[in-house]
């Protein structure tokens, strides 16, 4: 008889029109690190939300220490000692670290907070598990890595013994990931049982004892990680062999298409500068990647280049022409395409039909309008052409509501719209965010095809694998400055990580521009 702390037996959870979990069984041994692997939409998060009490399953049962329990809401989960670090941290930005840890489990006397008593307990936990924090710092001032340690301490403070980590490494630098792996090992050595959701095989191989693989809502199997190779795991996850390396030929850079000189941009919410004195260029036939941790000025840089935000000083040259003050429409007409970071905010009008979204950059052309009246037949014809060419799948073709489409197909729609008017420069911001392996492969092939067709590509990515595989030249951005220029062939992920964390910098601006 195995010693299981949590058993989820035959869990079934249905949403309208979708079986998110279909007879899934997951057994967590006491003190182990158990990975939950699967593509986006495979049902990992649903399963964990069932365990954390956010969803009620239609079928199956959950046992804690062999006894059946009913988890109605997160409070019940907390009482049972189950804690969760959400993918998006649940921290109040202008509270201190200490306030965030104790929130909801405060030590009080007569309603008044006893911060010093809480602080003592937090410091003890922090030392015992090697979780370095500054209790009085505000959340908005500390690094993502420390925010994650705060989330972990929140669970420990509540004496949780089952810890769920939902894609914990998505926002971290390689160094922070190593640190997190060590923390997880410490926690399991101290007797905590860990469930670790991920789709990154390296991490699972590095830290997990066992791994349960989900595919399309079904459980594919549970394996000992030590005896399974990366290829085995990915085959279980996707259902076919996946080529990890992206095939591409040597870049043949030509003329300079985009030239950025001494660009400064003021941030959206704060008065401080988000982009500081950035200069670089992109030539046709090459993919230049701006790598960096989220929130280091990438968004503002892109907004300035695409005309969504005003610049403070500096200039943007497009094929030698100054477009710093041009409108978005004029930039587009000159041949600038933009796959935005947030496809819902900047990419699509979700309540428009697919056809209307596809023609969004062209509706004013004579092909599609006459005297201000739109020729919808022409629009539909054009949409049908793109839908076929880019294999965009939706429930009812050109007239489908964009909101009802899957994320991957929404992204394909944007890619189709942006590539079809034959741009000279493509600015792609996190083009594969939240997409599964198959869709990522597709987008990557499209980007490389554009490069080989002589387009200039500026790629902004947070995914290190994507940066290393796709780019011909890497610029690292840290706190609004370009701190390094690297060649993907002669650098390592570790070195890249040091630049991204601000631990290393080289004065690239002068060298790179010789």
């Amino acid at each position: 008889m195995e010693d299981y702390i949590i058993e989820m037996l035959h869990i079934t959870k249905e949403f309208p029109g979708l079986k998110a979990n279909d007879d899934i069984t997951l057994q967590l041994r006491r003190g182990e690190i158990h990975a939950l692997l699967g593509e986006n939409g495979a049902g990992k998060s649903t399963l964990m939300n069932v365990l954390f009490g956010l969803y009620t399953p239609e079928g199956g049962e959950i046992k804690k220490n062999g006894k059946t329990v009913a988890i109605k809401d997160p409070n019940t989960a907390t009482e049972l000692g189950i804690g969760m670090v959400h993918q998006h941290f649940q921290l109040v930005h202008n509270f201190t670290v200490l306030q965030n840890i104790i929130l909801g489990a405060e030590t009080v006397r007569g309603g008044f907070l006893r911060l010093e008593e809480s602080r003592k307990k937090v410091m003890e936990l922090s030392e015992r598990y090697g979780l370095k924090i500054d209790t009085d710092a505000l959340i908005e001032d500390i690094t993502v890595g420390m925010q994650q340690r705060v989330e972990i301490l929140k669970m420990l403070y509540r004496d949780n013994e089952v810890l769920i980590f939902d894609e914990p490494t998505a926002m971290l630098t390689p160094q922070e990931i190593d640190e997190l792996m060590q923390i997880m090992k410490n926690l399991s050595a101290e007797g905590k049982s860990i469930l670790f959701i991920s789709h990154k095989l390296n991490e699972i191989k590095a830290v997990a004892d066992r791994c349960t693989v989900l595919r399309k809502g079904k459980c594919v199997g549970t394996v000992e990680t030590a005896s399974a190779s990366k290829e085995d795991l990915s085959e279980m996850m996707v259902g076919r062999r996946v080529d990890f390396a992206v095939a591409k030929e040597e870049a043949k850079p030509g003329q300079t298409v985009l030239e950025v000189k001494q660009l400064n941009v003021t941030g959206k919410s704060h008065l401080k500068k988000a982009v500081k004195n950035i200069s670089f260029d992109v030539k046709c036939g090459e993919i230049v990647c701006i790598a960096g941790i989220d929130g280091n000025g990438q968004s503002e840089l892109v907004y300035a280049l695409t005309g969504l935000m005003n610049t403070e000083s500096g200039s943007v040259l497009f094929n030698g022409e100054d477009i710093t003050k041009e409108s978005v429409r004029k930039r587009n007409m000159k041949g600038l395409a933009h796959i935005p970071e947030d496809r819902h905010e900047y990419g699509l009008i979700l309540d428009y039909s697919l056809a209307q979204n596809l023609v969004l950059k062209k509706y004013f052309f004579d092909d599609f309008q006459k005297n201000g009246f739109i020729d919808f037949n022409a629009v539909d014809e054009y949409a049908d052409k793109l839908i076929e060419k880019y294999d965009i799948r939706s429930s009812s073709g050109a007239s489908s509501s964009t909101r009802s489409m899957s994320g991957g197909n929404q992204q394909k729609a944007i890619v189709a719209r942006e590539l079809d008017y034959d741009p000279k420069l493509l600015i792609a911001v996190q083009p594969t965010r939240g997409m599964d392996v198959g869709a990522i492969e597709y987008i990557h092939k499209q980007i490389i095809a554009q490069r080989d067709a002589g387009k200039a590509i500026l790629l902004i990515s947070l995914e290190l694998d994507e940066v290393m595989n796709l780019s011909d030249r890497i610029l690292v951005i840290y706190e609004g400055e370009i701190v390094g220029q690297l060649e993907p062939k002669s650098t390592t992920v570790q070195e890249l990580g040091l630049y991204m964390a601000g631990a290393k910098r080289s004065d690239v601006l002068t060298e790179g521009r010789e």
């Binding site: 956010l54 997160p74 409070n75 907390t78 969760m84 959400h86 998006h88 649940q90 921290l91 109040v92 930005h93 202008n94 509270f95 306030q99 965030n100 104790i102 929130l103 909801g104 489990a105 405060e106 009080v108 309603g111 008044f112 907070l113 929140k154 008065l271």
Partner: protein, 330 residues
């Protein structure tokens, strides 16, 4: 010196309603609900308080124990304000209605209801409820007579001293303590900044927002009575835009109790300057302009606009204010 004492005394007198109502707005917004209904809440609170004072006066016992009567009136104004604010809470929290529209609806309802009730009780055409003169705290309350030539402090304190003033200062300190030193305050603030985070640690966002809005209604109701008492001409179913001015005070005070105190006194000072402009010797008189008194009457509102223009960029509004909380959304 006489004028200085008058100015300072009046500043406090008119600053008190602003302070109370702005603190009320702060509690609601810190919990995540924009309380645009403060104007209406003030009217309803003042109505209830004034009706009580009227009946205490007519019953004859008010004049014998005036400050007890006033204290009860304050409590009634607060409680009725709190009850009235439940309408906003229900619409904004349970029904997830647009909070601006919900608040505006209450603002339109309140004066109309007050007029109807005033007439119903006092008879047709009786548009104002008179406030008994005994509510003012005088030297006699402290057991000494008015001096023949009152000095600076006597003028400052006793010219227009009502029980609402010391209570407002107590409530200011209590607000600070509740917001920053208690479990309730910590939880309330978390709901205004990041309700999902609060919910994830087992805090009931609905409950916290109800508490925030109800405190807001309580303070708003008392503020309404404090305004009516300060205005001096009885209850006339209006609070002259003080509810909205208080929102400006709250924003200028950056949603923080002590800054709100400073901001309310700042605004009250300009308000007083405008109404005292005729009797302040060093102010220019603009005698060649017709209706020159309007120039000074503009001042508080012009200052409000200027202040908001210059401070709104730096303001730290609660992140989740005005956003209905949806349990399913993560």
């Amino acid at each position: 010196m006489r004028i200085a004492a008058d100015l300072l005394g009046s500043t406090i007198l008119f600053g008190v309603p602003l302070l109370l109502v702005a603190l009320g707005g702060m509690f609601a917004e810190r919990s995540g609900v924009i309380n645009l209904a403060l104007e209406g809440i003030m009217i309803i609170g003042a109505l209830a308080g004034c009706l009580f004072l009227r009946s205490a006066n007519l019953g004859g016992w008010g004049v014998n124990s005036p400050q007890t009567a006033m204290f009860i009136a304050i409590i009634i104004a607060g409680v009725i304000g709190a009850v009235f604010s439940l309408l906003l809470s229900f619409a904004a929290i349970n029904l997830k209605a647009n909070q601006t529209i919900g608040g505006t609806a209450l603002n339109q309802f309140a004066p109309a209801f007050a007029v109807v009730l005033t007439w119903a009780i006092q008879g047709q055409g009786q548009t104002s409820i008179t406030i008994p003169t005994w509510v003012r705290i005088t030297q006699a309350n402290f057991g000494f007579a008015q001096s023949a030539s009152p000095g600076f402090f006597e003028n400052l304190i006793f010219k227009s001293f009502y029980l609402t003033t010391p209570i407002a200062f107590i409530l200011l300190i209590a607000s600070y303590v509740i917001l920053y030193k208690t479990k309730l305050g910590l939880r309330l603030r978390s709901c205004g900044e990041h309700p999902q985070a609060a919910a994830s640690v087992g805090i009931s966002v609905y409950k916290m927002r109800y508490i925030g809005t109800t405190i807001s209604g309580f303070l708003g109701g008392i503020g309404g009575l404090a305004f009516t008492v300060a205005a001096g001409s009885g209850f006339q179913s209006t609070v002259a835009g003080y509810g909205f001015l208080a929102l400006a005070v709250m924003i200028f005070g950056n949603w923080k109790p002590l800054s709100i105190f400073g901001a309310s006194m700042f605004f009250a000072f300009f308000k007083v300057i405008s109404s005292y402009s005729g009797s302040i010797p060093f102010l220019p008189k603009f005698e060649n302009i017709t209706n020159s008194s309007y120039i000074y009457q503009c001042i508080p509102y012009v200052v409000t606009m200027l202040v908001l223009i210059f401070t709104s960029k730096r303001s730290q509004a609660p992140l989740a204010e005005g956003q209905p909380y949806d349990k399913g959304q993560r």
